[in-house]
């Protein structure tokens, strides 16, 4: 049966989104060479575009894995002499046989390799986008706001280090897991955030947020006993559920405070809340606490009726185990919203935070200051703070929103 070209493209695109890392990681286990595995995986997708018009296989991922591994074996045979001399990925001696086509834990192995703590954070993110999410170098560059040459250099350097330094292709042992998993979750969260506040005209890049959620689902599936992957997935789902309400009909940003809560995706919310609840019953890691904050927001009837005291308490707990300037800022912002809050004291805390180098280019800080100053009846200073925030944001929709707020000050 011949299938329409449009339909084939759609199916291949979906396979790329959903199965790229499954196919690639299976080939990596065979070749123990990231570049070769990537080439063969790419070629398998090209073959799919060519042959699937004659009939789409029942199991696209399985088809792609088989083809990619066959291509890899051909090349390994041809290049045996050269390849024996290259540094190869180290595997655990007890790893599964390399000739098993599919190992359900393959993608996780690849995730832990990409997010190895011996790689710089910027390399971890670039490598995850490239190898796990299947983005091209150009797309990686666009997401991370760096030049294409810089992105390529980061990816190449990281791959070289993995091979030369002997970063193993394996899932860490139980006692290493908490520390190693934290890096993985952070990277997945960064991928989501990169898609959520995309740069340029569009407010979000749904392909990227979708991939981050896919990744979080995969981590949940692969580590069902761990509360933190569960919490991350819950957090992302609750954030995603609010996505549509975040942009008005004419494309403007709508803050959580002003969102039409009836536009939230009820199904995603329920999924997110149940995961957050389950995670919180098992632990209070930082993603569990963040999911708790998100849960307090989505279960509140309105912005005003949100349990701000409880939100502040969650941030207090985060400050104990995870005292970053951004958490401190979120805590102060929540404090400013507790009914009867001492806004002068809040302002003092915000001013102290503005000395943090990590927040120097973070638009949310001056935006929060502007809001507090407005409520204190100091429109002149508020306008200045809005000006700073407008200058710092890289997103066009966010910039228009801040400009409108600034313009409305005098009214």
């Amino acid at each position: 049966m011949v299938t329409e070209a449009v339909e084939v493209t759609r199916v291949v695109d979906r396979a790329h989104r959903e199965s790229w890392s499954t196919v690639l990681s299976s080939v990596v286990r065979l070749t123990r060479d990231l570049d070769l595995a990537e080439d063969c995986t790419q070629d398998a997708f090209v073959q799919a575009l060519r042959t699937w018009p004659d009939g789409i296989p029942d199991n696209p991922a399985g088809w792609l894995t088989t083809v990619a591994r066959r291509l890899a074996l051909d090349r390994l045979r041809r290049e045996t002499n050269l390849r024996r001399k290259l540094p190869l990925l180290v595997e655990q001696p007890d790893a599964e046989q390399p000739d098993d086509a599919e190992q359900p834990t393959d993608p996780l192995r690849l995730v832990f390799t990409c997010c190895h703590p011996a790689l710089a954070r910027e390399s971890q993110v670039a490598l995850t986008l490239r190898l796990i999410c299947g983005l091209t170098t150009r797309e990686v560059a666009a997401v991370l706001l760096i030049g294409e040459a810089t992105a390529a250099a980061r990816i190449t350097r990281a791959k070289k280090k993995i091979a030369a330094a002997g970063i193993p292709y394996r899932i860490p042992a139980d006692h290493e897991l908490p520390a190693r998993m934290d890096v993985v979750l952070t990277v997945v969260h960064l991928v989501y955030t990169a898609g959520y506040v995309a740069t340029g005209v569009e407010l979000t890049r749904t392909d990227l947020t979708g991939r981050a959620i896919e990744l979080a689902r995969m981590l949940e599936r692969l580590m069902p006993d761990e509360p933190e992957p569960l919490a991350l997935l819950g957090l992302l789902l609750m954030t995603e559920a609010r996505g549509d309400a975040r942009v008005s009909a004419d494309g403007e940003l709508v803050l959580l405070a002003d969102q039409d809560r009836s536009r939230w995706d009820v199904k995603l919310l329920a999924e997110g809340v149940s995961r957050a609840t389950a995670a919180l019953q098992r632990g209070h890691g930082r993603f569990a606490l963040q999911a708790a904050v998100a849960g307090l927001h989505v279960t509140a009837p309105s912005w005003e009726k949100t349990d701000w005291r409880q939100v502040v308490r969650m941030y207090d707990a985060m400050m104990v185990s995870w005292p970053t300037p951004i958490v401190a800022l979120n805590r102060v912002a929540a404090r400013s919203l507790v009914p009867g809050a001492d806004l002068e004291a809040v302002l003092v805390e915000l001013d102290a935070l503005s000395k943090e180098p990590a927040l120097a280019t973070y638009a949310y800080l001056p935006a929060t200051r502007a809001d507090v100053l407005t409520r204190l009846g100091r429109p002149g200073e508020a306008a200045e703070a809005y000006e700073q925030a407008i200058h710092l944001t890289a997103n066009e929709t966010e910039r228009r929103f801040l400009t409108t707020r600034q313009t409305n000050l005098g009214r």
Binding site: R84, V90, K160, G166, P168
Partner: protein
């Protein structure tokens, strides 16, 4: 198995008022480290302590000029290279675990490049 060089960087002020007991205590810690490496199934292939960096000399080989000899280490650092190990380990994870047990303030872990006859040129 792969080989890693551990470069040990520490403050040299420690040497200034060093007692015999403190020195022996430090040597004992290195002995314990060696035992831990063996226990992990890895191997120490070599290693030495170095005299302090003020005793170093650096030779700079220059194109079209005589080699230049200068007093001091190649790079002056507040915490100086004070010793090294060459360790054979399963992979970087094991090497890093062992480095955490190494009695030194800062340990740079560098993979040793294979240079046997059938080794490929570095990528």
């Amino acid at each position: 198995m792969a080989q890693y060089m551990f470069l040990l960087f520490d403050s040299e002020e420690w040497y200034d008022n060093l007692t015999r007991d403190e020195w022996q205590q430090a040597m004992k810690l290195h002995g314990e480290f060696a035992a831990a490496v063996e226990k992990a199934g890895a191997r120490i292939l070599g290693g030495e302590a170095l005299e302090r960096s003020s005793t170093a000399s650096t030779v700079k080989n220059r194109e079209g000029a005589e080699p230049l000899v200068t007093d001091g280490p190649f790079i002056e650092t507040r915490e100086a290279l004070g010793g090294f190990y060459v360790i054979e380990a399963r992979d970087l994870d094991q090497a890093l675990e062992l480095a955490k047990l190494c009695p030194s303030g800062n340990i740079e872990v560098r993979p040793v490049m294979p240079t046997s006859e059938d080794a490929a040129p570095p990528a």
